[in-house]
Symmetry: D2
C-alpha cells in the first residue's frame, strides 16, 4: 500500500470534510501518498484528481459539504463505466480507494470492486443513516440537530397560531432521521416509511390533544411516507384545526458538523487506514455499540438496517 | 389613561413577546393597568383577555411567537364585528389599545378606530417589514438572520454539487426580506415582486458565472415573484446546470429575537406608552433614521413603503 | 410502587428537563404519582416539593437548566441530614426516588440509600461525564458542542492575529470534555488531568507548527490541569508567539440540549421507570455500547471511569 | 485613482472580510487595481501585500476574522515608522488607502495622512463601536448577538441555581456593547465605564428582587468598569446570594457576521470607493440615522462619541 485515493459520492453529508482531513493526515503520517478524485465517480471516470497533503486539508474540519465535490453519475454504473474506472485506478497506481458516502455509494463501490484489484473501503457518511453495518453514519447527528432547530422555530408559530404543522424531513426510503428528530423534538406524531400509518388514529390523537387544551401539534413526516400535502388536506377535512406544511429542504444536508459527526469521521478514518495498511479491502467501516468495526461490503449491501421500533413507541408515550 | 390593552395580530414575528414585556412593565411603572387580549382581534370580539403584570411577562423576552397568541379573524372586518369590538373595549374600560402587528393589522386598527374612543397605537412587528412609516419592524432583523443561516447551509450543498439553488423566502407582496437576505448572503441573483425580471438576463448571469468557473449559484426569490418551480424548470431548459428549489418555510417566523429586534421592541414600547400617557391615539410608532417617531395611522395605511433599489444594484455588483 | 419523586442534584446539565419530562410522563402512563423536590437534596431535607403531571412538564423539553432547581447542600451529607431526608421520604410515601445528576450526586444517593427503604435510581446527567457505568451522561454532548462553537469563534481571532490561544474548558478532575472538544475542534494540543504534560513538548509542537507556517494554535486545557495563566506565561517566555487565555465559563452548562442529550434523557428515563416498576433500587442507569443498562450504585461509586487514551493519541496525529 | 490598498488594523471584528470582499469587487468594477496589506500597519512597513481580485475575495463573506490578518504594531507610531509607511505607499503606487478598523486605527490613519499623499479612508469596524462619526461599526451587531446568546446560556444555570451572575463583556473604555447586550438580554443591572455606579444601589436592587421572589440576577459589566471579581466579593458580603463571575472572552470578536454587520460592510464600502473615485481622502465613513455619510478624520479623532443614557434608564425600567 503506497498510494490511496479518496472519493466522496452520492448525497453530501456534514463531516465529509472532517473525514477527508483525517484520512489524509493519517495516511500521510503512515507514509502513504493521497489523491482526491473530484466529483465522485465522475472524477474516477475522467481521471480528475488532486493530490492531498496535510496543508490542503487544513481549515476544512468545520465545513459542511465536501471539498472534493460530489455528483450523481449514471455512466459509472454501466459495465463500460466500471471497466474504465478500474483502468484509471490502475493507471494512477491507486492501491487503496476510500469511498465516503451512503447506501448507494456502497453499492457502487461493491460493483467497482469486481473490476479492480484496488482495495476498497467504504466510510458511511449519510444523513439518511441507512447503510447496514453501522449504528450511525457521519453527518446523521448533524442533520438531526439541524432539523431539531428548525422544528423549534416552527413550534413558535405553531403555538402562537394554535395550528397543526406537518414537518417533512428527508428520508425517501427510511425513517431514521424522522424518528430521531421526532422523538427529540417532542413531536406529537411521527410517520416513517417502515410503518404503515392509520389516518383515523392521527385524527384521534389530534382531537384528544385538543380536548386536553393542547391546540398546536407537530407531526414529523419522512419524505418517503407519501404525499404530505394530501395528508394535510385530509386532516383539515376531518379535524377542526388549521394545518400547515413545512418541508425542510436542503438545509438538512448542510451546516458545520456536530462534535459527534466529527468524532465518527476521525474514528472511521483511523479504522479505514488501518485496514488498508493491513492490505484489507471490500469492507464497510462502522460503529457498533461503542466499537469501531468493519463488515464486508457484500453483507452491508445485502442486508437491511432495521429501524428501532421501540423508539417509535417511546416517542408516542412521551408526547402525551 | 388608566387601563390599556395589548393585542398581537396577523402573522407572528420574533420580538412580539419582547414588546409585550416592555409595554406591560412600562405601563405598570406609570401606574396603568394592562390587559392582554387572546388570539388577536378574536380576543376583542370574544372579550377574552388576561391581566398582565411584571411577573406574568417575566421570562418571555427571548421567546419567539407571542404568548397572547394570534389568528386571522374574518368576522372582525365586518361592521358588526367592529361595532362589537368597540363595545367590548368600552365595557372593559380600555382607554388605550396597542396593536402589535404588520401592515394588515394597521389597516384593521384603522377601521376599529372609527368605532371606538379608545386611543389606538400600532407597534410595527412583521417579518415582511412592509408597513409604511418605519424603516424597520420588530422581527425583521431576526427573519433576515434566520434566512441567512439557512442559505449558508444550502450553500454547502450547492457548492458540493455545483448546482443552482432557487431559495424562496417569505414576501407575498414585498421584497424587503428577499433583498436584505440576498445581499447579505451574497446571492448571485435576487428577485423581488417590485421589479420585473428578465429570464434571459438570469440565464446570461448563470452562464457568465459558469464561464468564470463559478459553478454554483444561489438565487433568492421572494414568494410573490411568481412560480418558483416554473422558473427552475425554465432555467433547467436554458442553462446547462442542475437546478434545485428550496422553500424556506415557517422557520422564518420563529426563533429567539435578535438583539436588534429586541431593542426595537423596547424603544417602540417606550414611545407607545408615552403617546398614550399624552392621550394621543391613531398613530403608528416607528424608527426613521435613528429616531423613534410616530406617524398617523391614516398616512401609514395610505402610503406605500418604497423598496431601496440602490441596494438591489449594489447586491448585483457585489456578486460578480 | 405507587409514588415516586424526582430530584436534580449537583451541577446542572442540559437535558435535565428532558429527563424530568420523560420520567414524569412515563411514570404517569404507568399509573404512578410523581413529586419533584425543589433545590436538590435541600428540597428533601425541607420537604419542599411540587406535584408533577403531564401538563406541568410540557414545554420544557428544549430548556437548559432544571425547572426543579439545584443547589449544593452541606447539611445533607451529615448523619442527621441523611436521617432527616429518609424520614421525609417516608412521610411523603415516596416509594422510588430518581436522582438526576453526576458523580457527586451518585455518592449522595448511595449514602441516602443506607437510611431509606425508598428505591433509589440515579440518572447520569453531567457535563463532566465522569460517572462510572455509562459511556455518556445527559448533557455531555451538548456541552461538547457548545464548547466547540466557542472555539470556532475564538479561532477566527486566533488566525487573524496569528496567536496561540489557551482555551480552558470545565473539568476539575476529569478530561472527558477537554478531550472530545479538543479532538473535534482540531486543537493543536489537548491537556487533561489524567495525563501529565511536558512543557518542553508543548514548546516544540508550537515551534514545529510555526516552522510549517501554521502561526496560530489552539490548546484546549481542562480546568483541573493546573494554572492556565501560568502556562500561558511560560509559553510566552519560551516560544516566539503571542499567547492569550480564554476561559469558557458557565455557558458550558447552559443552552438547549442537543438531540443526543435529549435521546439519552428519554432512554435513561424509560429504563429508570422499568427498574422501579420491577421494585429494583440502588442502580445507576447508563448506556454501554448501544445498550441501555444499569449497574449497582456501589460499583458506580467505587470504580473510576477510564479516559480513552487512544483518542488523545488520535487527536495528536490529526493536528499535524 | 488607479490603484488602491486595503488594510485591516487593530482588534478584529466580524464583517471585516465582508468589507474586503465588497471593497475589492466595487473597486475592480470601477477599473481600479486592489492590493491587500498583510498584518495591518506592519504590512505597510514591510511592504507585505497580496493582489486582490474578485476570485480571491470569493467565499469569505461569511467568515469571521480577517483574511488580511491584523496585529498591534508599535513601530508604526514612531516618526520613522510613519515615514517608512508613506514611502512604501508611494513605491507601490497606492493612490488610495482604505483602513478597516476602530478608534485606534483611525488615529493611526490620521497620523499617516500627515506623511502621505495617498487618500486615506477609514471604514469603522469594531466590536467596541467607539469611533465618533458613525452610529454603528461593522461587527458591533454581531458581537451584541454573540454576547446575548452567551448570556441566554448562563441564565439557564443562574435560574437553576438561583445565583447572581456578573457577566463581564468587552469594552475597556466604553460601554456601548455592555449597554446594548444588557438591555436586550434583560439584565437586572448594567454597569458601564461612562457612569459611576453605587454599590449600595446594586445591593438594594438585588434585595428588592429577592423579596419579589426573583432569586437569580444577571449583572452585565463592561470590562473597563473595574475589578469584576472584587465587585463579586463585595456583593457576596452584603447580599444573601451566591455570586458567580463569567468573563466572556474572545468569542465576542469571532463568529460569522450578522446580516446587519454584512450590510454595513457593503454600504460603507460603496461610500468609500465613491469617495476615492472622487479623489477625496481624510474621511471616516459612517452611518448616521439611515444615511451613509462621511466626516473628516480629524473630527472623528477629536470628538467623543456619546453613550445613549436614555437606553440605560430604559433598561432599568424594563428589568423590574
Amino acid at each position: 500500500m503506497r498510494r490511496i485515493a479518496i472519493v466522496t459520492s452520492g448525497g453530501d453529508a456534514p463531516g465529509m470534510n472532517a473525514a477527508i482531513r483525517a484520512l489524509t493526515r493519517l495516511a500521510i503520517s503512515n507514509g502513504l501518498k493521497v489523491l482526491g478524485f473530484i466529483r465522485g465517480w465522475e472524477g474516477i471516470l475522467e481521471n480528475n484528481y488532486v493530490e492531498l497533503d496535510s496543508r490542503t486539508v487544513g481549515g476544512i474540519l468545520h465545513l459542511g459539504g465536501t471539498i472534493l465535490k460530489t455528483t450523481r453519475c449514471k455512466e459509472f454504473r454501466t459495465e463500460d463505466g466500471l471497466r474504465k474506472a478500474a483502468e484509471n485506478l490502475m493507471e494512477d497506481d491507486v492501491d487503496g480507494l476510500i469511498v465516503i458516502g451512503g447506501d448507494g455509494s456502497a453499492r457502487g463501490a461493491r460493483e467497482l470492486s469486481k473490476y479492480t484489484d484496488s482495495k476498497i473501503i467504504v466510510l458511511p457518511a449519510s444523513i439518511d443513516n441507512d447503510l447496514y453495518g453501522t449504528d450511525e453514519s457521519i453527518g446523521f447527528d448533524t442533520a438531526v440537530n439541524t432539523a431539531l432547530a428548525e422544528i423549534n422555530k416552527i413550534r413558535d408559530t405553531a403555538i402562537s397560531y394554535e395550528r397543526t404543522f406537518l414537518v417533512e424531513v428527508m428520508g425517501r426510503r427510511r425513517g431514521f432521521l424522522a424518528l430521531e428528530v421526532g422523538l427529540t423534538a417532542g413531536a406529537e406524531i411521527i410517520l416513517v416509511p417502515e410503518v404503515e400509518y392509520d389516518k383515523e388514529k392521527i385524527y384521534e390523537i389530534l382531537e384528544r390533544n385538543a380536548a386536553k387544551g393542547k391546540r398546536s401539534s407537530i407531526i414529523v413526516v419522512a419524505e418517503g411516507v407519501g404525499d404530505t400535502w394530501k395528508l394535510a388536506e385530509d386532516i383539515r377535512k376531518n379535524v377542526e384545526t388549521e394545518v400547515r406544511v413545512s418541508v425542510l429542504g436542503y438545509v438538512q444536508r448542510g451546516g458545520s458538523p456536530t462534535a459527534r459527526s466529527r468524532l465518527l469521521a476521525a474514528l472511521f478514518s483511523q479504522k479505514a487506514i488501518e485496514l488498508l495498511l493491513d492490505g484489507v479491502g471490500g469492507r464497510v467501516v462502522g460503529i457498533q455499540g461503542n466499537e469501531i468495526t468493519s463488515i464486508s461490503l457484500d453483507e452491508a449491501c445485502e442486508r437491511v438496517k432495521p429501524l428501532n421500533i421501540n423508539l417509535l413507541k417511546l416517542a408516542e408515550k412521551l408526547a402525551i
